[in-house]
């Protein structure tokens, strides 16, 4: 197994840290948690519900913004700035480079998410609840959010290999939104009478990354048990789709002439 991607990953992480992207978002997250606490003060009885809902939504949203905006620049920025030239002349394969960049952004997202989760846990504790067993569900929800972010990042990376940051953002965001409503699209297709539409929406449902799979925020906030099979299946799903996108990205990037 090659270790060449490792320094690339660590350097990507270092870049994110030095770009101060991390700091701003942490402050933002803390701000959200503060707001959550305030809300918790007002509505008695559902304070836990609100904090978890709001917290998980923020974690998801912030992570999404990071994944997309940094992700679309992962490759295109290096090509644009020509920092890639002296790197690729070295004994590093193109796919190793891609893997390293990807892992670096994932690392950044994981670190960021971890801090925010700690903030969420702190907020829950602050509200006076001892951390109960059901709160472990929040961790499952966060894990699913991470899987989701890994997928979005892979999408952004893939587009970054051949299109400009703006287009990549549009594509990635477009696929993400479609993926969130994948279930609805398919249901809509089933209601229509048009058989072509039915088939089309069905095929679409199975092909696009179905982000709805990862959304267990309501279950977590209501303390409902999340089946282990879902955890296993979602993990596998994310891994397969990530692999798909990385393979595709490698194929595209390996043949690309750098200007």
């Amino acid at each position: 197994m090659t270790t060449t991607p490792v320094p690339v990953a660590l350097n990507t992480f270092r870049e994110a840290v030095r770009d101060r992207v991390l700091y701003n978002l942490i402050f933002f997250a803390l701000l959200m948690m503060g707001a959550a606490i305030l809300v918790g003060q007002i509505s008695i009885g559902i304070d836990r519900l609100v904090i978890i809902n709001l917290g998980l939504a923020s974690i998801s949203l912030i992570g999404l913004v990071m994944a997309i905006f940094i992700g679309v620049g992962l490759v295109s920025k290096e090509i644009e700035k020509r920092t890639l030239y002296s790197l690729l002349a070295r004994p590093i394969r193109r796919w190793e480079f891609l893997l390293g960049k990807y892992a670096g952004l994932l690392l950044t997202l994981a670190v960021n998410t971890s801090f925010m989760t700690l903030g969420l846990a702190a907020a829950l504790y602050w509200v006076g609840r001892p951390l109960v067993r059901a709160d472990a569900l929040v961790l499952v929800a966060v894990y699913f959010i991470l899987l989701e972010l890994a997928l979005v990042t892979a999408l952004a990376l893939f587009f970054s290999c051949f299109s400009s940051p703006m287009l990549s953002t549009l594509f990635t965001l477009g696929i993400y939104i479609t993926g969130c409503f994948a279930g609805d699209i398919r249901a809509f297709g089933e209601i229509t009478e048009n058989p072509a539409m039915k088939t089309f929406t069905r095929v679409l449902y199975y092909l696009i990354p179905n982000f709805h799979n990862f959304n267990v925020i309501a279950a977590a906030s209501h303390g409902e048990r999340i089946p282990i099979s879902l955890v296993a299946h979602n993990t596998l799903y994310a891994l397969l789709y990530m692999a798909l996108l990385l393979v595709a990205a490698s194929a595209v990037f390996s043949g690309r002439n750098l200007k």
Binding site: N53, A57, C180, F181, G183, D184, A187, F188, E190, I191, Y205, Y206, L207, N210, H212, N213, N215, V216, I217, A218, A219, S221, H222, E224, I226, P227, S229, L230, H233, N234, L236, Y237, L240, Y241, A243, L244, V247, A248, S250, A251, S254, G255
Partner: protein, 307 residues
């Protein structure tokens, strides 16, 4: 990389991608069944308050209404077939859909039939159904169908014949209202509940609705009503038989032999009726026809009829 190396890589990648898509599709099916077992169908917009959702919809109200309506139909449809299913989210979903789009007639009509349905076919909340339909009437004062649905609810579920007649009457004054509404109002006011009136109402529900689920329900109910009517007739014939022969018939064949009927009467499902030991006609146990319980039992408790 050489050109041949590149094209080799490309074809390998293509094969890998295709394979992965197949695996992913297969996995998605498993995940779907996992998600179904989660009772809390996750809302992308976490809040259940329609007002909050409306505020967050950034003006895409009707689009969101459509999405929620689609989910409502899917929600109901997927649970309908599951034994022992409950429908806790049906009301919130309908509530949200109609708040986002107060002119979503189809949602009001759906709620009228299925919110009030009890047992395995609905949450059994005629009160909420009435509430929903009244809201619908308030936002859509020219739609006679909603008044008809209100009349239906009072008549069929709540057995409140006065309110029912009033609703039908109200509806009959609306633009394009069919003449039978006046007729219905009079019938219900005078005679209250009867099989014939019920059959008329359910026929109109069938005629005036396009939603396939509602029509299916209407047909089912109509079949049950027909069976009920048949039973009444058969019971009369059985009494006649009893008078003649001193005992009740054991089967419809007896009736025919006695010359009381010409042909073997079958229920809407094609099964001949049977006789119970007490001489009362009944449906063949194999038959899929179900006589609606609304025409059998007493009206529901009064505290639920307040609207």
């Amino acid at each position: 990389m050489s050109r041949s190396g590149q094209s080799r890589l490309r074809s390998t990648a293509l094969v890998a991608v295709a394979l992965l898509f197949i695996l992913i599709a297969g996995l998605q099916r498993r995940i779907d069944s996992d998600m179904d077992s989660l009772a809390q169908q996750s809302d992308d917009l976490l809040l259940r308050s329609p007002a909050a959702i409306q505020k967050m919809s950034f003006g895409y109200d009707s689009l969101l209404a459509d999405i929620y309506w689609t989910r409502t139909v899917q929600y109901y449809g997927s649970r309908f077939t599951v034994k022992g299913a409950t429908f806790p989210l049906l009301w919130p979903l309908l509530d949200i859909s109609t708040t986002l789009d107060p002119h979503l007639l189809v949602a009001y009509r759906f709620g009228a039939v299925f919110l009030s349905e009890s047992g395995t076919a609905g949450p059994g909340r005629p009160d909420l159904a009435v509430q929903l339909v009244k809201r619908g009437i308030a936002s859509n004062p020219d739609e006679w169908q909603l008044d008809m649905d209100l009349g239906f609810l009072y008549y069929w579920r709540l057995k409140d014949y006065q309110s029912s007649a009033a609703a039908f009457l109200e509806g009959s004054n609306k633009p394009n209202a069919p003449p039978w509404l006046k007729v219905m109002a009079a019938r219900v006011a005078q005679k209250g509940g009867s099989l014939e009136t019920s059959r008329m109402i359910w026929s109109e529900i069938y005629e005036s609705n396009q939603d396939p689920k509602i029509r299916e329900r209407a047909l089912e109910t109509l079949r049950g009503l027909k069976a009920a009517e048949d039973e009444v007739e058969l019971n009369q014939l059985a009494d006649e038989y009893q008078k003649r022969f001193g005992h009740f018939p054991t089967s419809v064949g007896d009736l025919r032999s006695a010359g009381l009927i010409q042909a073997i009467p079958v229920d809407p499902d094609g099964y001949p009726y049977v006789f119970q030991p007490d001489g009362k006609a009944a449906l063949d146990p194999e038959s899929s026809v179900i006589i609606p319980k609304e025409i059998k039992g007493p009206p529901p408790e009064l505290n639920k009829t307040h609207s």
